[in-house]
Subunit: 232 residues, 2 copies
């Protein structure tokens, strides 16, 4: 692993409270890998072997059952995925593949659990990270059960817009197909949903979306901080 990579990883929330020697030991056992787009990293049902930390790129978490497939989440730097499976030493509940070329830190299962036992700073970080993951899924579920598809799209646009600096326009960092699945609808429906939002100033230019009347869109979308605020 390159020295600047190490410095970068060291600064992640997950590791910042960790003792230096424990950190070194864990890093020695870990792999830093770069995957091309569309690479399958893990498959649901397999026993967990690594904790993954996304350093660059985008990872799609998805699940299948019954001949259907759905996108569960998109993981961006600098977040982890599949943490719960590692902690419980259980099988993965979701599969993961890269969307773009991505750089990923892979920490063997046993090393994570060893560090958990010996390093209380790390344990604290893990607890916070895991609690954050839990709350994210709960928000997702509220989103799914309490809103229509169009409301979900509107609120997602508002969220991405804010995350990208509220410049009046935003970039979708994944396919519309994937966005549709993430929001729990079909691609055809997503396309129609965009049309429905046109009167509220939503303009679609490929992967770039312009929000020309944020007030109107927010009035329609009724954002709810207990669903949409990632920081809550």
């Amino acid at each position: 692993m390159r020295p600047d990579d190490i410095l970068e990883v060291r600064k992640l929330h997950l590791f910042e409270n960790m003792q230096e020697d424990n950190f070194q030991a864990m890093l020695n056992a870990a792999y830093l890998q770069t995957f091309p787009a569309q690479a399958e990293l893990i498959r649901e049902g397999d026993p967990s072997d690594f904790l993954y930390v996304v350093l660059e790129g985008t990872i799609e978490l998805f699940a299948q059952s019954n001949d259907h497939e759905t996108t569960m989440a998109m993981v961006r730097p600098f977040n982890t995925f599949i943490l719960a499976a590692v902690l419980k030493d259980a099988v993965y509940l979701m599969s993961a593949r890269t969307v773009q070329r991505s750089r990923v830190l892979m920490i063997p299962n046993s090393n994570v659990r060893a560090a958990l036992e010996t390093d209380s700073g790390f344990t604290r970080s893990i607890v916070i990270e895991l609690a954050g993951c839990y709350r994210a899924v709960v928000k997702d579920q509220k989103n799914l059960k309490l809103r229509t598809t169009i409301e979900r799209l509107a609120n997602r646009l508002i969220r991405y817009h804010k995350e990208q600096g509220s410049t009046g326009s935003l970039e979708l960092f994944h396919d519309k197909k994937t966005l549709a699945s993430l929001l729990g609808m079909t691609p055809e429906n997503l396309s129609r949903a965009f049309n429905t939002l046109k009167p509220y100033g939503v303009r679609v230019l490929g992967n770039r979306i312009e929000l020309e009347d944020l007030d109107a869109l927010e009035t329609f979308a009724k954002p709810d901080r207990l669903i949409d605020d990632r920081s809550v």
Copy 2:
């Protein structure tokens, strides 16, 4: 708190790895309360103040937004709820009310976090508990996104049947209205879904459901251990 209550609490997974003096300190600060049916325990959006452990009865976790309300989960003994909010010292994402008269242990927020710092056995239990909660919600979400309402009902019946000892019949421990909301459908639709399952041997007798042809039902439901098995 009565001595036999203390013994009972001591045996919970969450506390069994805790040091005796830490356990005593925590219990001294905790409240053991009995609530009548339909009592509201917490409201979403409020800052977290207690970690709750259900000792007896049933608690409904629900959420509201946009004039709609949905049941997120039913918590039965001996599970905790609202753990993530306590750990992050954040506001609750869900509200909670009793379904039946229920006995609940309430541990103040600060005591949970103090014990987390000082007792590594407790920390380990918390991590496992939280990871379990996370995986439960992920399964719920797969259930919602990958199955139709009828499939969800069929698999839920199979699950309850197994949990209650596979005797050929099962008891719903909550209203059909609540079950409908939990499964993400309307009460009217639940009623129709039961009718649709009649050819597979599902007989409804008030709160008691008899499964007269489990094979047929399972063939229809296609249970998936990565969704339906609570132990995975």
